[in-house]
Amino acid sequence: MAGDDSWIRAEMGGTSHASVIGKPEVIVALLNRVKRPIFIIGHEIAATSPDCESLTGFISTVSRVRHIPVLGTSPAVKGLISHGISIEAIMGGMEIADRLRDPEWKGFDNLGQYDLVLFAAIPYSFCWTILSGLRNSAPHLNTINLNRKYQPHATWSFGNIAVDPWKKQLQAAAVLLENGEKHV
């Protein structure tokens, strides 16, 4: 399978496609470039799967060391709290998408619109459409898909890859960030 096809067959995007995150340094570089990133975490984070463990670990480390707020789209994020992750807000996926496309919106801390959104654990098609909406109506925003199923509408996305290599990349990125790598 090609790494950068829409994971759900036929849910192809348009004429431009997310760049594939090929190595952990990419994430670090992306985070270094921006001022106001935010995590948006969906309900699949509560599943008992190796994917969720890896994501939880990554979010936990990165939100802590980089002070990145975490928004949950559902009560499922409650589980994250036990991993020391503090939840900035809970808001439906469509509602947050609607805020994100508004350049005037000031964010949850009233300090201004976000500039990078890291999506994870949102159902594939639901996330696909949100990313499509943001790509078209929020040019001020970059988006990253952290799941290991390629999302063509994100700015950056993991390709369709197996659990292990993906997990390793997430872990490596977390370590780099924890070590304060500012310039990759």
Binding site: R9, A76, I90, F126
Partner: protein, 784 residues
Amino acid sequence: MTVNRKNVTLTLDDLKSSAASLKNLKVSIGSLRGDQWDEDEGPTPMPSHTDLRNWDRMLLSRYKPLYLPFCDLCCLCTYGKCDLSGGKKGACGIGMEAQQSRIVLLAACIGAATHISHARHLVTHLIKTYGRRHLLDIGGNSIETEAPIIRLVCGIKPTTLGDLEIVLDYCERQTTELLAAAHTGQEGDAIDFESKVFHAGTMDHVGLEVADIAQISAFSFPKADPDASLIELGLGTVDAEKPVILVVGHNVPPAIEIIDYAREQNLSGTIEITGICCTAVDLTRYDPNAKIIGPISWQLRYIRSGVPDVIVVDEQCVRADLLIEAQQIYAPLIATSSMNCSGLPDRTGDEPEAIIEDLLSGKTPGVLILDPEKVGEVAVRTAIAVKEKGRNFRAIPPIEDLFELAKRCKGCQECSRVCPASMPLAIAVQQAGDGDLSALASLYDSCIGCGKCEDVCSKEIPVHSAILSAAETQICAERFNVRAGRGAIQDIEIREVGGPIVLGEIPGVVAFIGCANYGNGAKEVADMAREFARRRYIVVTSGCSAMAIGMYRNEDGQTPYEEFHGRFDAGGIVNVGSCVSNAHIAGATIKIASIFAKRSLRGNYEEIADYVYNRVGAVGIAWGAMSQKAAAIAAGFWRLGIPVIVGPHGSKYRRMLLGRKDKPEDWFVYDSRTGEKVQVGPVPEHLFIAAETPEEAMTLAAKLCMRPNDTSRGRSMKLTNYVDLYRRLYDQMPDDLNLFVRSQADIPITMKEQILPILEQKGYNEQPIPNPTMLKSQIRDAKE
């Protein structure tokens, strides 16, 4: 605009009147304006979309579309394709937002056209059978306002089947015009497209109402009966020893003729008449002994089981490949509708004998018969003959073959990648290859029965059939029930709940409509319905959602239809009927304005929609995956100011209609007593939103039932439910309570301790409760 637009010429060449008296010469064409109805005509009888454009734009300025392009390209003309992403315009100058709403308009037009055509087919058939002057009767004395939507939109009061033709003419005219607006080089503005979508929704609702009141009247379906029979539901209810007929679709006349023929021939007890989708629903409104197999997604599983001896399809929700599936089990297929001719020879003009012979000999795998009566005879006689042959063809592999089949799987994941429900199919198949069928079997509940997994498998593993095989015990045990579609809501019911609803004391009306089948959609719908019924909301349902609700028992083994009453009252689960019965849900909200509040209905759309929007705490939930009909139905609700929540796949509808609770300036209404502008908070917050989870949907539904008109008592009850649900599901307090509290009296007494600190921290907007309206024309001074 007048109702009677036709050439009417009355010529009386010569009446020698000296000694003659001519008394009461009356020529009536259709329902002439005002001839039977003393209500004054409102401003917009039979409106064109521009007549209601201001209303639409008011709603759309509060609920701005969030566009979620489903495809970046436009491929509708041969100048294209054009890529509209990144602010690019098409060769015709259209931009992305307008294009998305244009596609929504197309979908809504297709949906509305489908219901209107369905109504037209029904009315034409019923007039042929019962005559144009057959009286409409959908509830005897219990219902005076028998067609609230038609009265509201068209400004006429239909009393006979024939009257409905004029209504349909209007709908067809409007649908044609709306469709035309989707042509290249017409509308270019996204919001104007959305307004047209709303109009298509209104047309759809009129079509729904026409269809259902026509069939209720002619076929004597339950007439607004809260205690309609309980109907058997599920594959396990079928006696496969008898000849079995399967009817699939939405337009019930052929199925009814099957019942009638069987009755005439005294065969009723000896054959099984079973149905899938809305034809099943409507058939059981006619004959409670017919059985419902299940919703739309039960087609492959039931047919592949080999149980049906004959398959009769009419229109809508019929799989396009049923002829192929039918051939797999050697069941003759009878197509009965011009909507779906399936490439079959048209045998309408032939003798039943000849048709049956060709079907039995396999000379033709199916036939097209456009005469419902003939379908009745051919279907019954063919089923009996097929059964007599005694052969039973299954298209599901025996469980002992599964192991070998599954071992072929190399884990390419293509089945998972085409699965609309995103099921982990490849893993389950591989486990089956290792001898463990449990994973396969466990997928049955989430499977929507589309069969795409099979087409894509390069190893030719019949994945869907494998699931069916693994889950066979469960399938055979499907024995549930559902209350037969009752039709409309009685006037007396409206009178009784009107006050409590409008003042907010019944916390809301939650309607579960459309298909529920998506992932765990059916179970989720059943759970949600139960939750709201237990909370003493009025739960209304129809179609496949009504079936889904019936398929899950409580701890005591009761289905929800056994657990809850069927009255339109707090704590009821009210199955109105099939998809076209959704008209009664919209109709009930309109009747609250009319019967309870005594507002004039006639051609008075804006005022009534304004009333419903500001006072009737109703919300629709369409949880499953949806076709274009659902888009049209939803649009009809939006325009009435009734919010609709859809499941996560509903994000594919290309745009949401979302309010911004963080913008206080968006939430003003007029107080109709004073003309003052009053800030009332974000009630209801959204008009159309896809929820990711049932938890989100439930808390949203509770919240979206709030209205500016709620009394403090009502608001505190609604808040109680909202907070209670939110706390239970989210394990914390909602963060927006301050927006819904207008005075201390709004705060639920039992929750004061939790809520007061929040309000102290966030503050809230102390406001009187206005007599709310969005319309300047409704301000009392303005009216005087």
